[in-house]
Subunit: 343 residues, 4 copies
């Protein structure tokens, strides 16, 4: 069975694992109060070129989203996101469990837009309605698309006009920053958001994300929020050690290499599938692609390949999701493309 | 200034107030553990013809909705409602504050349908998604429309198929049960829902609603839920005393008389407005109507009448909401219709 | 049956009821956005001699406590109170339901002290522990005792030293301010607390309390908090109308008269009981007293009088609670004292 | 610097790390839906000799406690624990953040007793009070003590009498089960509790605990609770792989070996310290010990050793906490004992 199921089906990239092995016997203080976590945080500050922020080593994507949103919002405030956003569609109501509404709008090619944020405000009236206080986007989006610099600047401007925070879920930030058609840099993201995170789990780590927060309200007692929301790791340095290895070299680091590899493998898949005459749902240029196949063909492919049977696509057709990862090989891709030729 | 603002702009119907005056000096135990609250509960059981339920005297509509939903749902479960439903649109995120998602769908003429509930289930996958466990409707709806018996039976069937509860917000149940084109009785509602409430605040009481619950899971420790969610009144008998007066006489009681009066006043308004050539948003036949007027005309009317400037209705036009109440008089209606003739 | 069960066993004081009757047919806007609620708020500002506060008409004591505490605290913050405090002992976990710990200490004669607050801080360490951010007291306490001016000043000083809010539950403030041995005025309370409320339900109203908040963080979107926590009344003016009648005349108003009457009736009871040779639990000088009787005697008294069988008091003895109210008469008291003579 | 700070200051035991290395390149499904997690669960069922339970791979101790308690309790229910219990003292109000009170009692030598549970019930009255529904203990306790079989049986009996769940925090279960004076087996714990967990983080894993749940109410949708409370790991197999390695061999597995090693190192420390004439706080026979030293001596020791300066112990003395771990060596212990000889 060849896996295109997700970007988290294997363990860590070998260089990451090596870092864990190399540091395994060190004694450090717990709860991310250790030199590796500090060093990783500093590397991130250096990479984005800003010192006026806090960086925390986080255990996973959902805790990072939930804790950041809960830290940002007062009880009567809501977060605006697309209906497909991970925080709405795949976190089992975790944001609502902290008491806050995820105010949904239907995204455009997976993205939030200023117009959609304005629409969310149409529901606002007075003390009978929640206050939309944060817009939350993903980069790449859940559809594999990416924001352009102009789009992110427009969102920032819209958020400023509404006195809203802008948060960014970077679970697949590595792929987002390295896709061929993007003009958005991590420095731009640092400039334009109030909080974002650098995804590790889907970019070669065993586990872990690094959240970067610029706003002082969100930063206030953030570690208390981590602990209270079940997100603090006793051996917290594990995340720090991995991020050190991931980010060593800055712009040339493994972080960007893995993103580029994922995208390259996905591109090869995408072009091969297109060459066979199949279409796609959406316009992803990153490591998630959504080809459309006849249902019977999907059933055949499932015998050899493990992927996500995503959605119906009209009579007798299905959209499937193929995801590439740090460990996806040319051979994996060739196997899939060869399989297509049987049909 | 003549008020068509809401059905709660005056105090209590005089007969209700008389009951409070008559019982004022009685000593009873607190927290609705008194003979009046018990008697009112029994009158409701008699009216609906069922003894297999619990009836609680509640302080208001939002607490009744919130407590019933929170009592019904486990942490990972959600309630399905239209985007216009009061629990989503006008309770300041109170349901989410108890940790549960309000899973919204766009209603049809203000109503939820089995198809919409099925659509809500399309978002469900597995342990990454909340479980839609309750459908929650209003009768009358927030648009003033009413469910037919067939529609409510279809919702019940759909809920059964999905193993869902069906709850009904009866803030305006009096108007709903007495509108000229309804075939739905309070006995039907008692037969087809797991919980519903009889609205008092918008039907002549100073305050108070009576919730009727058939499901044993929802009933479990319901009074603890009332207390924990700030809904328990020390002088709880106030609600019981008022409901005794409201429901005295059963099918011929003040409860139905007030509903019928509200609808009659609204019908006179509606027909008078239509006779002047204006149109309406939606098809309400109850005590909320939504005429469409030129914006300038709305601005003029606001000088004499207090109503809700509801929404835009295309270029240069506004939808307004007019609501009639137990205290609305023929003179109030005539004044509004006469005012129309100036334009 | 003669009631010494609580201060909320009857309806409203006749003058309060008259005010409701007199205003019943007025039309006003809902949700406490009406002239009566505004006027009552202004009367309170005048009474305490401060304009730099917000005053809200609240539906009951538990919602007032819960909403004020939840408005004050961030997710990682806790409220410190005695184990007997109403917010811990009789609100069914309502504060915890908003996500906050009630950090309890054992009170001294019902009261919180600076030493006890310091003790609460001993539990604090770092990001693994909640931050005690608010001290919450009752005046009168649940034991019927009152704080002296010096005691309240010491609590204020202690709270300042710890950067804590000081909140005061004034469910029985009327009795507290009018008891014979107090040196604490409502102006003192306004000067020394960040938020307090004037209890109406236990002081002659049908229902309702008025909360006064000085701190801008607690005031921020307080009405949104009221709505979200089920505490907003549609016919909100009911509370305003009653407080107008209660506070008319300021220092000579019905509010103080009722408190004084309650205390006078309790004093007569207390002295009569003491004259019969019985002792008391605690040192209450207000409208709740806690005599100790042989258990058999308590069982006899229960046949004629309705009171709270409070706690065991050693072998064969019980503490009971007797509460006087606006409607308690000399005859009620005499009947009880006469009953004692039978034993 | 030699670490006696905690049992989580190093990475994984080498055999655990080897297992991660060996499986690193495998592709599996995420979220603990993989063969390793299944196999580890089965090994646990075999070890305890019961199949009628669910076993989940958990990311850490706090999430395990919080999710299990939140899964067990309805909104009006509380968990009873000692004031020193981790869920009260070191989880930053995480249980309360899910809406539930931690009802505290003062433990006896770190332990909960039937009498203390009975005392907790004294606070219960009616619908104004939360219902104590679960007792939650730690084994070893936060004081390093262990329950005897008779004590645990008595707690079970008490919980049955009160219709309460009994949950057990096994963060240090390995040390608890292997200490020299215990008569309690893991099979006993499985027989006497409704839920318990086998701690991995403090017993040689990088991270992870395995929770075992017997009660069907707690098991209901437990994975949804994990996800909603931020406890689901994308590469969930990491926990499974580690537990396979930890439990290989059952009663002779690394799990018990590590516990025994920790206790042996602690015993050597304890006996050495006692031989120097110092006393201890409490009666721990496991891997946390609490010697009492003069304050000045503590300040000196801190220069070479990293430990927890625990509490004051009378004039001029401090209790410190020394913790041994899988990686603690005889040399570490000797170094400490030699250092004592300087004083």
């Amino acid at each position: 069975m060849i896996f295109f199921r997700s970007d988290y089906s294997q363990g860590a990239h070998p260089k990451i694992l090596d870092a864990l092995i190399a540091t395994n016997l060190e004694h450090t203080d717990g709860y991310a109060l250790d030199p590796h976590s500090e060093s990783a945080a500093q590397m991130i500050k250096d990479l984005i070129g800003r010192a006026d922020c806090e960086v925390h080593m986080m255990v996973g994507g959902t805790p990072t989203n939930v804790i950041t949103i809960a830290a940002a919002l007062k009880p009567w405030e809501a977060v605006v996101a697309t209906r497909a956003a991970h925080i709405y569609s795949h976190e089992c109501g975790a944001v609502e469990a902290t008491g806050h509404r995820v105010l949904t709008v239907d995204g455009v090619d997976g993205k939030l837009t200023p117009e959609l944020i304005d629409n969310a405000w149409l529901e606002y009236e007075d003390d009978h309605t929640v206050v939309p206080k944060m817009a939350y986007i993903s980069h790449t989006t859940e559809s594999g698309t990416v924001y352009t610099k102009a789009e992110l600047e427009a969102l920032r401007k819209c958020c400023d006009a509404h006195d809203m925070y802008l948060g960014l879920d970077g679970a697949r930030l590595g792929a987002g920053l390295t896709c061929e058609d993007t003009d958005l840099t991590i420095q731009d993201i640092a400039r334009l958001t109030d909080a974002f995170y650098i995804g590790g789990t889907k970019n070669g780590l065993l586990l872990g994300e690094a959240v970067v927060i610029f706003d002082e309200n969100i930063n206030d007692h953030y570690r208390w929020m981590i602990k209270q929301n079940c997100g603090m790791l006793a051996k917290g340095r594990l995340i720090g050690v991995q991020f050190e290895a991931l980010l060593e070299g800055g712009e040339n680091s493994l972080f960007f290499q893995i993103g580029a590899h994922e995208n390259a493998m996905a591109k090869k898949l995408r072009e091969g599938i297109a060459a066979c005459g199949y279409e796609f749902d959406g316009t992803s240029t990153t490591n998630q692609i959504f080809p459309i196949f006849p249902t019977e063909m999907v059933r055949e492919l499932e015998k050899e390949f493990f992927f996500y049977d995503w959605a119906a696509a009209g009579e007798g057709k299905r959209v499937i999701r193929l995801v590439t990862s740090w460990g996806t090989t040319e051979e994996d891709v060739d196997a899939f493309l060869n399989a297509l030729k049987k049909f």
